[in-house]
Symmetry: D2
Subunit: 268 residues, 4 copies
Amino acid sequence: MIETGKPVHVNGIDFGGSDFVVIGGPCAVESEDQVLSTARAVARHGAKMLRGGAYKPRTSPYSFQGLEEAGLRMLAAARAETGLRVVTEVMSVTQVEVVAAYADMLQIGSRSMANDALLEEAGRAGKPVLLKRGMMATPEEFAAAAGLLIARGCPGVVLCERGIRTFGNSTRNTCDIAAVPLLQRMTGLPVIVDPSHASGRRDLVAPLSKAAVAVDADGLIVEVHPKPEFALSDGEQSLSVAEFGTMMLELDRHLEIWREGRAAAVAV
Amino acid sequence: MIETGKPVHVNGIDFGGSDFVVIGGPCAVESEDQVLSTARAVARHGAKMLRGGAYKPRTSPYSFQGLEEAGLRMLAAARAETGLRVVTEVMSVTQVEVVAAYADMLQIGSRSMANDALLEEAGRAGKPVLLKRGMMATPEEFAAAAGLLIARGCPGVVLCERGIRTFGNSTRNTCDIAAVPLLQRMTGLPVIVDPSHASGRRDLVAPLSKAAVAVDADGLIVEVHPKPEFALSDGEQSLSVAEFGTMMLELDRHLEIWREGRAAAVAV
Amino acid sequence: MIETGKPVHVNGIDFGGSDFVVIGGPCAVESEDQVLSTARAVARHGAKMLRGGAYKPRTSPYSFQGLEEAGLRMLAAARAETGLRVVTEVMSVTQVEVVAAYADMLQIGSRSMANDALLEEAGRAGKPVLLKRGMMATPEEFAAAAGLLIARGCPGVVLCERGIRTFGNSTRNTCDIAAVPLLQRMTGLPVIVDPSHASGRRDLVAPLSKAAVAVDADGLIVEVHPKPEFALSDGEQSLSVAEFGTMMLELDRHLEIWREGRAAAVAV
Amino acid sequence: MIETGKPVHVNGIDFGGSDFVVIGGPCAVESEDQVLSTARAVARHGAKMLRGGAYKPRTSPYSFQGLEEAGLRMLAAARAETGLRVVTEVMSVTQVEVVAAYADMLQIGSRSMANDALLEEAGRAGKPVLLKRGMMATPEEFAAAAGLLIARGCPGVVLCERGIRTFGNSTRNTCDIAAVPLLQRMTGLPVIVDPSHASGRRDLVAPLSKAAVAVDADGLIVEVHPKPEFALSDGEQSLSVAEFGTMMLELDRHLEIWREGRAAAVAV
């Protein structure tokens, strides 16, 4: 349906090619020390990109609002030291320019997937975009939102399955793992998985990450925090640095099979 | 939870008081003739406000994009002739100023309920806002979005139940009629119902409108088109002018009970 | 789709004709005194039928299991004194015969709507059936289950909308009020509403009951308990006798319009 | 929450131990030839058990009703020749005895998960049970249904995640892959995955099967038909014999990691 080249290039990192790209980092940028220590740790354990929100939803005026441009500078500083590429969320059209000035990749969050004005502005910013699935969006609606980015000239779109809203409350969302191959075929775009938001539970992050590798996803975006119990947001779904390291080790064996599959596909 | 005065004033029309406010009009403003003829008709049948979209979602570059400011001028012309107040949707922060210059009330659509940047800008525009429930939003999330408008100084917020997304496809959405009294108590704000989007079917608009009156909703917003079969959007859920007239007549008897209830409440 | 005669006769009471049938009573039969006092009270306030479960789901071996045949005898005794007809749930094929011996109408619960063996047995029992919608059933699946009853010779089927399972937890289920006219047209069968299970909240029972009248439902089934705070099940959604009386009074005005509508339909 | 021994023994096959158990076979038993040729094929490709329905839901009197006891005899004959153990669905209490006489394991289908009478009868039959998740059941409700089987003396319960009903229609259901580790921890029972019903699409069966292995499920139940295009039911989600063979080969590499994980768990 959408014809765009794969892989998607993000400042030297490729999604949808022969590498499985792991993005790690905190939900929100809280301090220079927090970002830098997390960045060093996730880089050491094999992540290629750093995530972290500088702008946070402001539904309640009493909750943490994000560090804004100061946060973006901290992410850039972490990149300078670690070499990790930076993806961070842009929540409104007025933030696009400043976020694009610091980030290697713009993130459009789940709550913004249907925000056409934001998609258009982000699509024109000249940066690749990580587009998260709306929590009640069908695959078709998700693909259409990606199409809007591409129609505005976006140089590369990576889709992210992050769980859909269903009944029940034993998990925060329901990870629609079948949507990964479905979306890959429907759109031709790389698709990664966010096991942290999909489950909302630290103990399910590693199993879902392995499932993502098994269905041939193109990568992962994982919440990691140096001290999850003190995180200002999403602590209950963030891995500690040690847990992230253990998971990355466990993924290694699964990724061997993944790489063989990609190599075989190229050979054909 | 939110403390704001009722009723909400919209240029001489009150929501949440002793009048049940019916808003009628087409999904999209298509032409001067279409708007004016619809406006005259809905006014004649008892509507107090005119709806009609000048800006439309642009998911597909091939579908109708809306008439934009020209459409706003047509709505204003219809107001000048009929006395109907105008509510129309604002879809991005850059549209807030121009829409506020023409409309009596800004509409935030279902797809935008979680767009905090838009809520903030709309909240600062000095106009009352009709806020539609996100199709995946809980009552608590809906109330929080209203809170953000109010926190930015919005002079009045009216909530609109417009159906939620569930399983099945015999209706476009599922009208959560119980949410009307629930939201009224939770927020203290007026709550109206959109039976057109909630069902997506012309034949269910009248029953749902009666249900809205029965649960003591504060009004209705109904899609009416002079020729539904030629509508550029939402034709299958739009009433013809004659159908709207018939429905308004049928509602009369139900509204008698509604008015007695309101009068009794004031007397207490 | 299904061709059966309306109204459905239940031992002298008609569903789908010129009377709006209200069924009241406790979730579970707990004692002779509880049933009889509830029956007297609901009859005094205008109910025509008595509900009450003699067999309860046994998911936990520690919760109340129902009084079984002793409970059925209590219901029959209450009928003898009050004249109320009795509807009570049958949960397995082995209960059909004994329940049919005492009850005027068999109830098939939401959890059993997809239990074909039970539908077949109940359909052959020679009694009219009140069939509740499965909490995950589409209108089409609901209609098909009714069709199975009718195919086995059931003398009359009344459908009951009792809420569907969706996201969120401010209500127990989501009352799909639009399903009432939809199912009436799709099946030609009478459709009633269970506002108690649909909402799970006492404060929403009256609004949903009014909505049911407004959409031209054929009746209501309402949980009433002499002391809701001591009910062995569903206390939080049961009305007290006084609350039921108040609601029935409030419904009167709405039922005037309902009756006019039915009379007009017959006149055509 | 439920304390039962693992592994669950099914006539010499163990679920929840050191073997990943694959169950293959047609949706419905259609003929001796169909069952036998499928059984030989799935056995050759590594399945340990044979599935196939002898009793089918009878929602429409015009659709295929199942071969009943003749179908059970065909399954038993296929077992005699291939050594595959047989699991087949029991749909009503009256079928329990005859099904238990032929099958090694009783299956309780998704539509029956809330059928307490059937659970009780099946629990008393002395055979292990494969219990499928209701399509809108929470993990807690699923675990409670398993508890009822165990409370009635069932010698072993294996849970099956088979997809839940959500919005959208690009897949038949949504495979809740995170429920596998969740249910394993919540209940202590083996959990397998049904990728055929979870997706309803042949092209998603292999990816979901790999995901099941990756999250450490205890097995799979897969629909396989010698000629899917002529299947009397579920043809669009059935694998051909050749597709099943290819998938089993692909799973091998994934199962190596699975076995290492199980061996490591035992060593601890």
